[in-house]
């Protein structure tokens, strides 16, 4: 339980639907898919998947060269999203640089693209003589967090959690706890990732990447669907500006939602395969943190990436905790799996669902897999009041995480 109430006053997103939360919501509510065919993947021996969800509609040149030189595309995405979140929150320059704002932004790894470029050059003749000075700043694990802090002039804490698909849920949860403890007044929280064949390959190697819809990319991934065949990797960034309720009220900021609960736990049973009991425990811990009962939750935003085992394990856990009356959907059908960005991008969409009173359904869910029954799958856009949301993320490495948002009243 947070010692001080924490609210969200700004949201920034860079996604396959472009830059900005309105573009994201337009794509989600219209039932569009951000997944495209990527013919270059076919040139990689052993790679079966040829689809990905790539960012559109951003211009890195908006960022001055002095800052851009230390950024790979994931930091570009994070910076643009962070700038939008700050603008939405209406933070003044002195609030950015006064020490009360911290940054908690992670990625799965440092830039895989820059690492590839480095080793291509390095392996050619084992020479460092052609290596640019800013290379390290692309590949360090806290590249996104540091680049955002540099651009915005942040002088508070800089944190860069890394837990693959749970990364940005962690970043938000830990950011909320820092504010809750009174260590910072504001935290820019979220995650970012850039697409690289290594990411798709990681899942393809373990037979968890979608390869059956290469010619019809909009039909995959298919969370909970009987014909689902795996993950589609994506890229992007989601950044939320978290703030103490006291601060938001004092400066008259528009409060978008309140973060009331966060939990994360480890599943030591397997580094790859999710466990229903462990997922259920994570959600129960988050509910306890928020001090609410399962019946008070209006909507479950599932992690559901369209893998065979993950969707089944999560569905069983949701059914165990919430029964079959609480609407459930996954946004992976629209956005693919944006990895370290997914938690924050999808939570940003949840903020909008709370504000707009709407539920986004799961895209490509044509026939629910019988093994994913037992929960109330949201199949259509629904206009209804939404007060409380739980959002899940589960990562390779056995790292589960859940966040609870509540409409601010």
């Amino acid at each position: 339980m947070l010692l001080r109430r924490v609210v969200i006053t700004g949201v920034g997103t860079v996604s396959p639907f472009g830059r900005g939360i309105d573009n994201l919501m337009d794509g989600l509510l219209a039932g569009r898919s951000g997944v495209v065919e990527l013919p270059a993947l076919a040139e990689i021996t052993g790679m079966r998947t040829r689809v990905a969800a790539l960012v559109t509609g951003v211009d890195p040149m908006e960022i001055p060269r002095k800052f851009r030189r230390s950024m790979s595309s994931m930091s570009v995405f994070a910076t643009l999203a962070a700038q939008d979140a700050v603008a939405m929150a209406g933070l003044a320059p002195e609030q950015l640089s006064g020490g009360q704002l911290g940054v908690s932004i992670g990625s799965t790894t440092g830039s895989p693209q820059t690492m590839e470029e480095f080793f291509r050059e390095f392996n050619a003749d084992h020479s460092l003589e052609r290596m640019k000075s800013t290379l390290f700043f692309h590949i360090m694990n806290h590249s996104c967090a540091s680049n955002v802090a540099q651009v915005l002039g942040v002088t508070g804490r800089v944190l860069a959690p890394a837990a693959a698909c749970s990364t940005s849920t962690h970043a938000i949860g830990y950011g909320a706890e820092m504010i809750g403890l009174g260590k910072q007044e504001f935290m820019l929280c979220g995650g970012a990732d850039e697409f690289h064949p290594l990411t798709s390959g990681t899942f393809d190697i373990i037979n968890a990447a979608s390869a059956g819809f290469n010619d019809t990319p909009h039909q995959t991934p298919r969370p909970f669907d009987a014909r689902r065949d795996g993950i589609v990797c994506g890229e992007g960034s989601g950044i939320l500006l978290l703030e103490s309720l006291d601060s938001a009220l004092a400066r008259g900021a528009e409060i978008l939602a309140e973060v009331t609960g966060f939990a994360t736990n480890s599943d030591p049973g397997s580094i790859a395969n999710p466990d229903t009991a462990c997922i259920a425990q994570c959600m129960r811990l988050a509910l306890a943190d928020a001090g609410i009962e399962p019946g008070e939750v209006d909507y479950v935003n599932a992690h559901a990436t369209a893998t065979e085992q993950g969707d089944i394990a999560e569905c069983a856990a949701i059914a165990e905790v919430f029964g079959a009356q609480t609407p459930v959907s996954s946004l992976k059908g629209h956005l693919g799996h944006t990895m370290a960005a997914s938690g924050a991008l999808e939570l940003a969409a949840c903020v909008e669902m709370l504000r707009r009173g709407v539920l986004v359904p799961t895209l490509n869910l044509d026939q629910v897999d019988s093994a994913c029954a037992g929960v109330l799958h949201q199949r259509e856009v629904a206009r209804r009041r939404v007060d409380t949301v739980i959002k899940n993320n589960f990562a390779l490495g056995g790292v589960n995480s859940s966040i609870i948002l509540r409409r601010y009243v």
Partner: protein
């Protein structure tokens, strides 16, 4: 390669690397004040020159004294002449 061609090649390479207006580049243009370069950029500047002219200059003492574009022009022209004389 004439001196003029060397100057043009240097300016073109640096304008592209540092996104600087080619038309604004004169021998008097200072690297730090006018072009806004810093110590990291200087590392990359050396790589740009080495790549453009296929030579090694990183350990040259003279490069530490460079302050203007004109200094670079003179340095590279002299270095190229020296290398040509060595052949």
């Amino acid at each position: 390669m004439t001196d003029q061609e060397i100057v043009a090649k240097i300016n073109s390479a640096l304008a592209e690397e540092f996104e600087y207006d080619l038309a604004a580049m004169t021998p008097e243009t200072t690297l730090f004040e006018d072009m806004g370069l810093d110590s990291l950029d200087v590392v990359d500047l050396v790589i740009v020159l080495e790549t453009a002219f296929s030579m090694k200059v990183r350990e040259e003492e003279a490069i530490r004294k460079i302050r203007t574009l004109g200094d670079i022009h003179e340095f590279v022209i002299a270095k190229k002449r020296q290398l040509e004389g060595d052949r």
